[in-house]
Amino acid sequence: MKKLMKSVALSVTALGLAVAGAQAATLDDVKAKGFVQCGVSQGLPGFSNPDDKGNWTGLDVDLCRAIAAAVFGDAEKVKYTPLSAKERFTALQSGEVDVLSRNTTWTMSRDTSLGLNFAGVNYYDGQGFMVRSSLDVKSALELSGASICTNTGTTTELNVADYFRANNMEYEVVAFEKADEVVAAYDAGRCDVYTTDQSGLYAQRLKLTNPGEHIVLPEIISKEPLGPVVRQGDDQWFNLVKWTHFAMVNAEEFGVTSGNVDEMMKTENPGIKRLLGTEGTFGEMIGVGNDWAYNIIKQVGNYAETFDRNVGPETPLQISRGVNDLWSKGGLQYAPPVR
């Protein structure tokens, strides 16, 4: 009798596990289905934005493409899921996307309580304010009493509350779910101020009726390290995403670009040889081919290339490298060595 009961118990427990255990290794899943499912924004120029043909471009998109290049040797094997700020973590937790690359700020609570891990920082940002130049505001400290439009479910709405409270200023926050609605409401004059990550301000300004009539105030009120996010508990996939970004930064440091990577294959520099897979088996360590970094650089480019192509001074966003420059040039981008 007891035996029977134990076996009943076992099968019920097994059923429970079956419901629970849908989360296998992400890398195997990705290889089996043949593409990387990447969570991106619903359209933020320079970071993740679909063009009129539905092709996605941007800094965050390039990271997805680099992951696909590392896994498949083909940067095109990515499918994109546009997510609002509010939906993004649920989408990642539930396995709807394999990686979230969507201007997402690395914070302690997100890192520790959501069952997620941040796999690096591909853009160091900070929150800023945009106002109409006609208001003649020169500093954020003059904003007491203003109405402020922003996105719900972001660090932005928390920072703005902190900032106004710390400086003893009144404000009214109007929080929308979709970025386009924030822009529309600000454009219609519902709010005096639009606040989000500074990079986002430069990007969204391009969508306003008269971009020239708006200025970004000098104050930066927060630290917004933006980076890719993966599910916690899958170290292999975590490593792969982390090292994809590091490979791009290391490539910039070594001066390896998509243009010269083929020549670099012949170099005698041991650091470059390890990176490009002509020496060692570093690809195997993260579960992909040893030419993983070669494919990333060849097809997507190094960090400087994707930065300049998507958000740099030559683009409509006109963002200079600033803190996102290499550590050796006074910036914060620093990658551990491949060895």
Partner: protein, 485 residues
């Protein structure tokens, strides 16, 4: 076919009823099962388990093993005697209404009861299984769970909370209350306004005046063919586009200011002695009730009518005004004043609220109008003709003869519309009106990441609101139905 003859009242006592034995055995078995599980757990070294499992089920800390299954079955079986106690009254004819003779196994009441309990037990088990599973899955994925977050400070701002004090340091529980408050505000106001507008349009639709009826018809058709979300956007963004900017608002004189950031009404500020105004208002209402009763009684007795409406108006509005004058006008109005970022002060209504309210009211009113029209058409034409023959004019005919009878048809589907309006108010999330779904199931969910708990709370809240509304409407319906007879 065995014919079961109901026996006359009180002939068979409960004791001689063969089902009594069956029910007793059932109850005894249930208690035995619970006892057995206690013994089982005792030998497994877990003395408190039978009782702990009650707490475990409540707290969601559940893992499936054999002892707990035992406990669970025992708990479900325990429901039987409880349910039986409620049922026996009807079965055994304790009130002398019903008695029994025949085969126990042919008793459909008992049989149905058995299967009902079986289904209940199954549903309970499924629920219990999924709760336990969810808790374990969340723990396995390192996602925090539990309701501890409700005491944590929210840290974000909310721009509309007329009755509840809210600041960034308030807790998530307060966020929930503010969301609920804002949902109830649009729902209640929306229901009242939609009913009024719906009745007007519904009656207008049946008007003999061609223009009026066609305008009403066009209104209904347009409303019913626009998706509500689009309609809300149209209202919100066109309101934003049409209203003047914050810097030069539309001056409505004593009525305040109107601009793209909302309507700024003058805010009444009461001074000393203002309490008398409130007292006068209450006295006015009470007096009105007495006058209405007296007038009705007199009309019943003598047939003489009394202008109740105008008296009521005089009492409810006139008395407070008298009190206001008598106490030396202790009332001032704080007018909104201009500032760099638009008007400050006054009583402000945000445009998100206005846009949502107008959209919901007009949309729902179209459906209510159709219900009203159907209700009126359902009243036999002979009723109108009879009223006319008695010399009633068309106004009183509608008010006193047709509508009261139409109400019987109108009220039940109206409940649906009220529930729809309440639930549709959650579309506000698109235009930043901070109601429950937007601020709690949206912002709070996102900041805490505790989707399961927050969605559960939100669902239960909507369920409660809906059940209360339905319950109230049923009560109202029953009352109207009685009054008719």
């Amino acid at each position: 076919m065995a014919v079961q003859q109901p026996i006359a009242d009180g002939d068979v006592s409960a004791q001689s009823d063969p089902r009594f034995l069956l029910v007793t055995v059932f109850a005894a078995l249930a208690i035995l099962a619970f006892y057995l599980s206690a013994v089982y757990n005792y030998f497994e070294g877990d003395y408190g388990a039978p009782f702990a499992s009650i707490g475990g089920i409540a707290g969601g800390v559940v893992s499936i093993d054999i002892a707990k299954i035992f406990n669970f079955i025992a708990l479900v079986l325990l429901l039987f005697p409880i349910a039986i106690i409620f049922r026996t009254k009807a079965w055994f004819g304790f009130e002398g209404k019903q008695s029994y003779a025949g085969n126990v196994f042919n008793d459909s009441g008992l049989r149905n009861f058995f299967f009902e309990m079986l289904v209940m037990a199954f549903l309970g088990f499924v629920f219990w299984f999924f709760v336990g599973n969810t808790v374990r899955n969340l723990a396995a994925a390192n996602i925090s769970s539990g309701f501890g977050f409700l005491d944590r400070a929210a840290g974000f701002g909310i721009n509309f909370s007329p009755f509840i004090q809210y600041s960034e340091t308030s807790t998530y529980l307060t966020v929930y209350m503010v969301g609920l408050q804002n949902t109830l505000i649009v729902a209640v106001l929306g229901i009242i306004l939609a009913t009024l507008l719906g009745f007007i349009v519904g009656v207008a639709r049946l008007s003999t005046n061609f223009v009026i009826s066609q305008v009403a018809y066009a209104f209904v058709e347009v409303m019913r063919n626009i998706p509500l979300l689009l309609w809300i956007f149209i209202w919100y963004f066109s309101v934003l586009r049409l209203l003047p900017s914050k810097q030069d608002p539309l001056d409505l004189g004593p009525l305040g200011l109107l601009n793209v950031a909302g309507y700024y009404a003058p805010r009444p500020v009461f001074g000393d002695g203002a309490g008398w105004i409130g007292i006068a208002f209450i006295v006015g209402i009470i007096a009105t009730i007495f006058v209405a009763r007296w007038a009705k009684a007199r009309q019943m007795a003598t047939g003489e009518q009394f202008p109740v409406f105008w008296t009521a108006l005089g009492l409810i509005i006139g008395l407070p005004i008298l009190a206001l004058l008598a106490s030396g006008i202790p009332l001032t109005f704080e007018m909104p004043t201009a500032s760099r970022f638009g008007p400050r002060g006054g009583a402000r209504v945000i445009p998100e609220f206005l846009g949502l309210l107008v959209a919901l009211v007009t949309y729902t009113a179209a459906y209510i109008a159709e219900i009203v029209r159907a209700g009126i058409l359902a009243v036999n034409k002979g009723q109108t003709e009879a009223a006319n023959a008695l010399g009633l004019r068309s106004g009183p005919t509608l008010r006193l003869v047709v509508i009261p009878q139409a109400m019987r048809v109108i009220i039940p589907p109206m409940t649906n519309q009220y529930l729809n309006l309440t639930k549709n108010s959650s579309l506000a999330v698109a235009i930043a009106y901070p109601e429950l779904v937007s601020v709690f199931a949206g912002t709070a969910l996102n900041q805490t990441g505790q989707a399961v708990e927050i969605l559960l709370m939100t669902m239960l809240t909507y369920l409660t609101i809906s059940l209360l509304t339905a319950w109230f409407m049923n009560w109202f319906n029953a009352r109207m139905a009685l009054v008719e007879r």
